[in-house]
């Protein structure tokens, strides 16, 4: 497929068109932090830097209503109560604009979780209606390590449209029919001879990331170190259980379910959960299979680099986006943990 050019000054007009037909999720900078959210009319996203959050909330919101319940008392016998349950699934098409290739791969990692043997209708309703427009990463930073997880700064996997940065705009590459349909003819012009410029940025980005440690193939090392409590203690020492790593992770999918009620009405709600919390596995008997923080970290690492790959053909549940590394208040670096795990557990 040939490339077309979108000038930077045409971005607002293009987004305005998309906005007419679908919800647009894109990074906005607010108080200095670029994070994905649903754009309002005429809002212009900030595509200039790596967003602090992943766009997973567009398909798996941090909080969502699974269903509502309403109790109705019988007028003639107040002890008789009927309960009505109702739910609805997303119907509006949506586009995630400005995802990074790591984010597109994050969605691909979530798909088999929510679309496996038991299908999650809420996730799938959104996912089926979601088009992903990714921006290739011309400027990865020191926290990035996507090649170590099987991706790359220009990896097209999982995207419908890939925007390749050039000095004054982007070269757009349609990857699926849905992606191509977004290319409004009058705003995109032939790419002409701009391809080498995009290519040289790509080469630079890939060279910059050439040293990324390989996070794959750690299953056996993990199993070998499973009982090495000293190793896990050390890996977890700084953790303050703030949860930010899981919330920012494009691949973390664990969730909690709770009820909220007011009067005769209420909702069953699903929220993102976090496996570093003590309560995650606390049982009624007082027993907790992951009593120590180190055991919870072991499960977190095991899930991403051993259990998930064992179930999904060796693919790790990590995209190398670097968000947990950038945000951790204690400077915990998941690359160091996996690297030393592979070394010590070899």
């Amino acid at each position: 497929m040939s490339l077309v050019f979108l000038a930077r000054e045409n971005l607002p007009a293009w987004i305005g068109r998309l906005y007419q037909d679908m919800a647009v999720f894109a990074p906005m900078t607010i108080n200095g932090v670029a994070a994905f959210r649903a754009l309002g009319q005429d809002e212009i996203p900030d595509l200039s830097r790596i967003p602090a959050s992943s766009p997973k909330a567009a398909v798996f919101p941090q909080t969502e209503t699974l269903f509502t319940f309403t109790s109705r008392k019988h007028a003639d016998d107040l002890s008789q109560v009927d309960i009505d349950l109702s739910y609805h699934l997303a119907e509006v098409p949506r586009v995630i604009l400005g995802a990074r290739p790591c984010d597109a791969r994050g969605l691909k990692l979530m798909d088999p979780v929510f679309g496996g043997k038991v299908k999650d209708p809420y996730y799938l309703a959104r996912r089926e209606r979601t088009i992903i427009v990714s921006q290739a990463c011309a400027m990865p930073d020191r926290a990035c390590f996507c090649p170590g997880t099987g991706g790359g700064p220009y990896d097209p996997a999982g995207s419908d449209l890939l925007l390749l940065p050039v000095a004054d705009g982007w070269l757009a590459q349609g990857l699926t029919e849905a992606g191509e349909k977004l290319l409004a003819q009058d705003l995109f012009t032939p790419a002409g001879d701009r391809e080498p410029e995009a290519q040289s940025l790509k080469d630079k980005a890939e060279a910059y990331l050439a040293q990324a440690p390989d996070m794959r193939g750690a299953e056996q090392a993990f199993e070998n170190l499973f009982k090495d409590e000293a190793f896990w203690d050390q890996a977890t020492a700084g953790c303050v259980r703030c949860r930010i790593c899981a919330y920012l992770c494009p691949a973390c999918t664990c969730f909690n379910i709770t009820d909220e009620e007011s009067g005769l009405k209420g909702e069953r709600i699903r929220t993102w959960d976090h496996c570093m919390s003590y309560m995650f596995t606390q049982e009624a008997s007082g027993h907790n299979p992951r009593m120590q923080k180190a055991f919870r970290m072991r499960n977190r690492i095991g899930h991403k680099f051993c259990y998930y790959p064992q179930l999904h053909g060796g693919t790790v549940s990590c995209t190398g986006c670097g968000r947990c590394v950038r945000a951790c208040p204690s400077g915990i670096d998941i690359r160091r943990i996996v690297e030393s795990m592979k070394r010590k557990g070899a």
């Binding site: 002890s79 299908k119 309703a125 499973f226 969730f255 379910i257 709770t258 959960d273 049982e283």
Partner: protein
């Protein structure tokens, strides 16, 4: 709405009867409100369901009536927290939500023609009750049935009269035990794994099924090993905190295994293949 089934949406069920079993355990006999759903509801011994008290939440309980008895579904609930506390306030006629059946079941097919020893502690008798009643309803398929069941004190023994009646009818051999001596108790005193060692059921052509507090399960598994029970003849059912019950929420994993869908029933052979994190 889409055509996909919604795995989070409970069916409505009505409480027919509440039985007070112990100071902190009540049994709820329920039926699905929808008649067609009630007729078509099938399950296997050992499967669980999620019960909802709308406004408070959901929790997991084993269906402890056997599939061979269809008048109602029974759940025995120990009061330990929010949902179980609210459940204990419900009465006959009240409605709740029910999602199920969920999870795997006891491998009763493999137990045919064998002797069976049940080893339970506290509320851990609930899942075993299902299988026990199922076996009594197919009595000819199984050999000797022994039950070793313990609780803190005499008042904490669940289904006591029911089991004593089975014993008196010659259907099972029964050892009830409590942790400490008390004036109103003439039976055995001592921990379940110790009594199991004293009973020393021959491992030959025998399966052991156990459930109880994690610490009791641990010692019971060790006792059974000493008694010579092969790994595939030791069956246990695990409790693990879970939310969705259908393999999605990520809470109940042991390694790559999810207790909610791959379990809760495991043989010791299967447990040995899992990471040691119970």
């Amino acid at each position: 709405m889409s055509s996909l089934p919604n795995p989070y949406l409970p069916s409505l069920a009505r409480i027919l009867e509440v039985v007070v079993e112990t100071p902190d355990i009540k049994s709820f006999r329920v039926e699905l409100c929808d008649e067609a759903a009630r007729e078509s509801f099938t399950f296997e011994p050992g499967q669980v369901a999620q019960l909802s008290v709308f406004g408070t939440g959901e929790a997991t309980f084993v269906i402890n009536s056997p599939p061979t008895r269809r008048e109602y579904l029974q759940f025995s609930v120990m009061r330990v927290g929010e949902v179980t506390g609210r459940l204990h306030m419900l009465q006959a006629g009240d409605k709740l939500g029910l999602r199920g059946p969920l999870g795997n079941h006891f491998p009763y097919q493999d137990m045919r023609g064998k002797d069976v020893v049940f080893v339970a502690g506290g509320i851990g008798m609930a899942p075993l009750r299902t299988l026990l009643l199922f076996m009594l309803d197919n009595r000819g398929d199984y050999g000797r049935i022994r039950v070793v069941y313990g609780a803190r004190g005499p008042a904490n023994l669940c289904y006591r009269q029911e089991m004593e009646a089975m014993r008196d009818a010659g259907q099972i051999e029964l050892i009830l035990t409590v942790d400490q001596k008390s004036p109103d108790w003439a039976g055995q005193v001592g921990l379940v794994p110790n009594l199991l060692m004293e009973l020393a059921p021959p491992a030959d052509n025998c399966v052991a099924v156990t459930c109880g507090p994690p610490i009791m399960i641990r010692y019971t598994l060790a006792a059974l090993e000493k008694l010579g029970f092969a790994d595939e003849n030791v069956v246990t059912t695990l409790e693990r905190r879970m939310k969705c019950g259908v393999g999605l929420c990520g809470r109940c994993n042991v390694g790559g295994t999810l207790i909610c869908v791959d379990g809760p029933v495991f043989t010791r052979a299967q447990l040995k293949a899992l990471p040691d994190e119970f």
